[in-house]
């Protein structure tokens, strides 16, 4: 069975999780996205990968945005692609500077370099990670993409 619209697909995902876990879902410019609580992220990701209707089996991109005025300043974005449905799905989580986020590089192998890039550009921590050397920059001390570094 295939979904008639992106909103049907989002409601199908939200049926399998409780109301406190998924904060918000919407469709903007024909692109579906979800806001998820940080601790539930591994369960959501394994569900959307293994479900037979959805099959989001490719991770295309990972980025972050810095909002210095909020209490949880970093907003991290994951972009998934399903080769069966031919659709893209965006998942957002919020995080702070000190608490590490669980890595997904055992499920999607290319998250390795994306997490290293986020660490050296913003200072976000990921745990159970293999190494944290600088990828593009020459050192890991300056975090150039933060908003207070001009």
């Amino acid at each position: 069975m295939s979904f008639k619209s992106e909103l049907d697909m989002l409601q199908y995902i939200c049926l399998n999780f409780s109301k406190q876990d998924i904060l918000k879902y919407a469709v903007e410019y024909k692109q579906p996205f979800l806001y998820v609580v940080r601790s539930v992220l591994p369960k959501v990701i394994s569900f959307i990968k293994e479900d037979s209707e959805l099959q989001f089996n490719m991770l295309l991109d990972m980025t972050a945005i810095h909002y210095p005025d909020r209490s949880e300043p970093f907003q991290i974005r994951y972009l998934f692609y399903s080769s069966k449905l031919k659709k893209r799905l965006t998942i957002y989580i919020f995080s702070t500077e000190d608490v590490p986020i669980q890595t997904i590089s055992n499920v999607y192998l290319n998250a390795d370099w994306y997490e290293r890039e986020l660490h050296e550009m913003f200072g976000i921590l990921f745990d159970y990670h293999s190494d944290f050397r600088a990828l593009f920059l020459s050192d890991c001390e300056t975090y150039p993409l933060r908003k207070d570094k001009l």
Binding site: L137, S138, T142, P144
Partner: protein
């Protein structure tokens, strides 16, 4: 006597320049424009000119110094384009100027570089070699 040897050496270098091109950015067709005047090589042991175009980083200055140390004397450096002279349009903590680290002979400005500037720059380089 010494002057005659120096004159012959400068004449030989000037008429048969061999260049090692380090191309990192988007000044396109650089090899085609330069190959009207200079020959290319891919081994720094055989080159007497290092052509740098594109941005120079804190990471890539180490690579450039290694290449420059492997070239036999007499050796010259030519920087092509605004990006290697002072960073061009990219203003960053990471981007550095090449002339603070290595001795540059001729700088050719432009973004992108036109073929007239390259011809004039090579003429200037030949004058510098002849007068040395």
């Amino acid at each position: 006597m010494k002057n005659i040897f120096k004159f012959v050496q400068n004449w030989a270098v000037e008429k048969s320049l061999t260049a090692y091109v380090y191309k990192d950015g988007c000044c396109s067709f650089l090899e085609n424009l330069l190959s009207n005047y200079i020959q290319n090589t891919s081994n720094p042991h055989h080159a007497d000119l290092l052509v740098v175009s594109g941005i120079v980083n804190k990471k890539s200055i180490a690579v450039l110094e290694k290449i420059y140390n492997q070239m036999p004397a007499p050796k010259y450096i030519l920087t092509v384009g605004n990006c290697s002279i002072n960073g061009g349009i990219f203003k960053n903590n990471d981007v550095i100027q090449l002339k603070n680290f290595l001795p540059v002979s001729v700088e050719i400005p432009g973004c992108p570089v036109s073929s007239d500037s390259i011809r004039q720059g090579i003429k200037e380089l030949r004058n510098i070699i002849r007068r040395e």
